[in-house]
Every structure is written in structure tokens, then in C-alpha cells.
């Protein structure tokens, strides 16, 4: 069942065992992760998977941890083809952003456009929170076309301010708190992104759709 070298059949889930109580469901694209995450979450919430403690999406996988019946859940998903998400599925959050980031000109340079055009490109896409990681509430957003992928900075900054909107690879990220970071800074938002007393604690939780709007 384990086998990273065996490429998953296009569109079908490959199931890897992870220790005794976890399963890693692998698919071929971020769109398939989004679709699979929704199916897993619906079945989890409906109690169809038995006891499962955590469902953790990532770039090409959905991890189920603390699974009481891993054999049955593995059987359920092995070879399964998730149904594509309908457009507009999931709540929408608008992130008002001041596009004055230290790396805006450099990103515009990578794209071969002016900084103003770079802002139009970034605000013209609809994004989806693919997964969180790196820090609590730090969201990895997909939705920027692949041709706009940019490398991380060669030397990470020792401190990136809270609310920074930034790019790395194909992802847009928003820093919920100040931290070191190597992403290219486009701008900043004043939106409260992380509140442990809120439900959910992260404003940008997996599955949320996001649009960036340039602050006047």
C-alpha cells in the first residue's frame, strides 16, 4: 500500500499507511486535494469514518490521524476519484491589502510587469486556502496561475511583520504573527487572522475562498 514511487493513477487516491493509527491520502493536484478534503470532512462530520482525531490537508495529500479503524478507512479511499469542487464552494473572505511590500518591485520584475500591474494580477485571482502550516493560522493559498510562481528570497528576513501578504512558489501566504520568513512581501493587511478564542481560530482555514482587494 505504501509506495511513493508508484505514481497515483490520474485522479485516483493512493493510500499510504502512517504508523498504526494514521493514513496519508495522496492525489495528483491541489484541486484534487481540495475536492478530497471536502469529501473526507463531510464523511468525518457525518461519523462515517469512525473515530478520527485530525484531518490535515497539505500540498498533495490529506492526512487522517488518530484513526480507530485504519483498515476500513484505507479501503474506503484507495483508488477513489474525488468529485471536483463546484465553483464557489466554501465561504469567501475578502482581504483588504496595502500593496507596499518590500519585494513588490522584485515580484513585478519576475513577472515582467509594472508594480501597479502586479497588484492588478494579484487582486484579479480568486484563491483558496489549500492548507495551514509553518505557524498557527498561516495559510497557503492556491489560485495564482503557475506562470506567476516566484522563488523564495535567497536570504530569509529575520522578522516579517504580522499581516504581511507574501508569495513563495505557487502560493500566496498571509503571516498571522510576526516571524522570520523567506517569502516575497507584496503588502500587508490589518485583518485579524488568528484569534485562539474564535471558532475557528484561523480566519483563513482550509477550504476558505479568498480575494485580495487593494486598499485605497
Amino acid at each position: 500500500m505504501s509506495g511513493a514511487s508508484a505514481l497515483p493513477r490520474a485522479g485516483a487516491v493512493t493510500v499510504h499507511r502512517v504508523g498504526r493509527a494514521a493514513l496519508l491520502l495522496e492525489v495528483g493536484s491541489d484541486a484534487e486535494v481540495a475536492a478530497l478534503l471536502r469529501e473526507v470532512t463531510e464523511q468525518w462530520e457525518a461519523g462515517e469514518l469512525g473515530e478520527v482525531a485530525e484531518v490535515v490537508p497539505a500540498a498533495r495529500t490529506v492526512l487522517l490521524d488518530g484513526v480507530a479503524a485504519p483498515e476500513a478507512v484505507a479501503h474506503r479511499f484507495a483508488g477513489h476519484r474525488p468529485t471536483a469542487l463546484p465553483p464557489g464552494a466554501g465561504p469567501l473572505v475578502e482581504v483588504e491589502t496595502v500593496y507596499d511590500g518590500a519585494d513588490l518591485a522584485e515580484v513585478a520584475g519576475y513577472w515582467g510587469v509594472s508594480p501597479a500591474e502586479a497588484v492588478r494580477i494579484h487582486t484579479g485571482c480568486e484563491y483558496r486556502v489549500a492548507f495551514c502550516g509553518f505557524a498557527p493560522g498561516f495559510a497557503y493559498l492556491t489560485g495564482l496561475p503557475e506562470r506567476y510562481a516566484v522563488p523564495r528570497r535567497a536570504t530569509p528576513r529575520t522578522r516579517v511583520p504580522a499581516g504581511s501578504v507574501a508569495l513563495a512558489g505557487p502560493y500566496t501566504g498571509v503571516y498571522p504573527g510576526a516571524s522570520p520568513g523567506g517569502w516575497q512581501l507584496l503588502g500587508r493587511t490589518g485583518l485579524p487572522l488568528w484569534d485562539p478564542a474564535a471558532e475557528p481560530a484561523a480566519l483563513l482555514a482550509p477550504g476558505v475562498r479568498v480575494r485580495f482587494r487593494a486598499a485605497a
Binding site: G19, L24, V56, A59, G66, C132, P196
Partner: protein, 297 residues
């Protein structure tokens, strides 16, 4: 006087006289929030944490202190019952020897000193009523990766205690745990075992690694032969990580993930150590030899 004012007793507290090198508040950690990037945290030696709570009459999972190598000194500002478990260490009450692994009655004003570990790394100090620091996302645990929960103890700090719900339990005599002179960790291969060469697998199964001094609550770092990846596989996209995952970073040296591990990671996991083996692993001092008993599927 309002009914509320009559029924709420004054908050019981302890004062931190000496915090030790690293003392944190720990319960059983956070669950259900890994998808938001929140690590689990929680006591690294759960059986020792449970026993300490049981000895003072607390329900399992009550917040207690996890000391690292150097102990802690607390002054009780109200009478309480304390118990020290985990790594064996001297316990003193107002300078006089007191019991390890048994309930100790601490009068108001008395100084409870938990000394440096005789062997092992982490001692647990439960106090009757438990530590009533505010919970964050359902847990009072300090998470040293993300900074959630209470920061490590600092001198002069006052720690609030919760209401006492049970009576101390004496388990007599409590055997001292054997010092872990050598760790043998079971390892279930996968999910990314096929990212490693045959030579790496032979080394993994046959080598004696040692515990690195760079180990912490995030991971037990091992020193030994480097495990080589198969060439041509590129970089692994970030994927979800579990407790006990043995991640192999580019330097080839295994890291066994402990409670404060990141929720996602981009280095391949060759296998997973069952949770039951991790309490002993968390008590292994730097230099302890470590082997893996590899189970193939």
C-alpha cells in the same frame, strides 16, 4: 454580599522561586486543530504525568509541571499536596528530604525544591487542584514550537491552582524506573520509506545511533550514519506529520517527532515510532545509544 462572592474561595497560588533551565505547564495537549497549523503539545512522558496527577488526587490530564534536567523550586502560598514523578531526582521540603513518587504535604509558606535529575531528562510535578493557567484552544500546555500556551516558568511568577477534587493516593512502594541505558524503538515503515536507498535501509535497521544534545520537545535528534535518499525524486511537497514520525532531513540524520512537532513538513518520513515507545525516548539523555526494530508491512 452577593452569592457569587460568598461561594468563590480566594485563588490558591504557588510562587516560582527558581524556574530551572526549562519548566513548562503541560496537560495532554491540543487535539482537533492540527489543520490550522497547531501542534499537539502536551507532556512528553504521559505515563509519568498521569501518575503524578493520580498521586495528588487530580483527574488524569490535569495541568502539571514538566521540568527539564534541572528541576524547579516553588513556594506554596496555600497548603497543597505535590508529587514528583518521571525522571528520578531529589525532592526537598524546606530543605529536608521528601519523597519522590509519593504525595508530599506542603504547608502554606513551605519551599518545595525539585532537584536535578539523577538520570533521565523530564520530571513531572503535579500539585493538588492542578495549574489553573488560562487554556488556549482547549489545553493549558506550553507549545515551544508555535509559542501557544503559557511561556516557560520565570522566577517570581505566581501560578494559580484549580479547585481540589480528589484525595492523595499512596502507592507503596513505587519502583524507580530503570535508567534507559539503551533505547530500542519500534519502527513501522512508511509513508516515504521508498524514498531511501537499500543501503540507507540496511543502516537504519543495523546501526546504533546516539541521542543528540540538540534534542528538544519538538524532536529527538539522532547522531549516526547519514541515510541517503534515492536520487532523482526531487523535493517532497509538504505533507501532514504525525507524532513519532521519523523524518530524514537533507543531512540524512533521523529526527523522531515529539509532542511539539510541526503539523506539516517537507522532508520524507521513513517510518513511525509507536506512541507507546516515545515516553521512554523523551527520557533518554544525550549520548544514549538508539536502535530501531524495523517492522516491514
Amino acid at each position: 454580599m452577593s452569592p457569587a462572592a460568598r461561594t468563590v474561595p480566594p485563588q490558591r497560588t504557588v510562587a516560582v522561586v527558581r524556574p530551572g533551565p526549562l519548566t513548562t505547564v503541560q496537560d495532554t495537549g491540543r487535539s482537533g486543530v492540527a489543520a490550522l497549523g497547531v501542534p499537539r503539545a502536551g507532556a512528553l512522558d504521559p505515563p509519568a504525568h498521569r501518575l503524578a496527577n493520580r498521586l495528588v488526587g487530580n483527574p488524569p490530564g490535569t495541568a502539571a509541571l514538566e521540568c527539564t534536567l534541572g528541576g524547579v523550586a516553588l513556594r506554596a502560598l496555600a497548603p497543597l499536596v505535590a508529587a514528583v514523578t518521571g525522571a528520578p531526582c531529589p525532592v526537598r521540603l524546606d530543605g529536608r528530604p521528601a519523597a519522590w513518587g509519593a504525595p508530599v504535604l506542603v504547608p502554606a509558606g513551605a519551599l518545595l525544591e525539585v532537584g536535578a535529575t539523577t538520570y533521565g531528562v523530564r520530571s513531572y510535578v503535579a500539585l493538588s487542584g492542578g495549574l489553573a493557567v488560562p487554556p488556549v484552544l482547549g489545553s493549558r500546555s506550553a507549545d515551544l514550537l508555535s509559542g501557544l500556551g503559557p511561556p516557560p516558568l520565570a522566577a517570581g511568577q505566581l501560578l494559580p491552582l484549580g479547585p481540589v477534587t480528589g484525595s492523595p493516593v499512596r502507592i507503596d512502594p513505587l519502583p524507580l524506573p530503570a535508567p534507559p541505558t539503551e533505547l530500542l524503538l519500534r519502527l513501522d515503515l512508511g509513508p516515504r520509506d521508498d524514498w531511501f536507498t537499500g543501503a540507507a535501509h540496511r543502516l537504519l535497521a543495523s546501526s546504533t545511533f546516539t541521542v543528540s544534545p540538540a534534542s528538544n520537545r519538538i524532536g529527538l535528534r539522532l547522531l549516526g550514519p547519514a541515510l541517503e535518499r534515492r536520487p532523482g525524486l526531487g523535493e517532497l511537497p509538504s505533507e501532514g506529520m504525525v507524532l513519532g514520525a521519523v523524518q530524514i532531513p537533507p543531512d540524512g540524520l533521523p529526527v523522531v517527532f515529539l509532542a511539539d512537532h510541526p503539523t506539516t513538513g517537507g522532508y520524507p518520513v521513513v517510518g513511525v515510532v509507536p506512541a507507546a515507545d516515545l515516553a521512554t525516548a523523551a527520557q533518554a539523555t544525550p549520548g544514549t545509544p538508539v536502535g530501531f526494530a524495523v517492522a516491514r508491512r
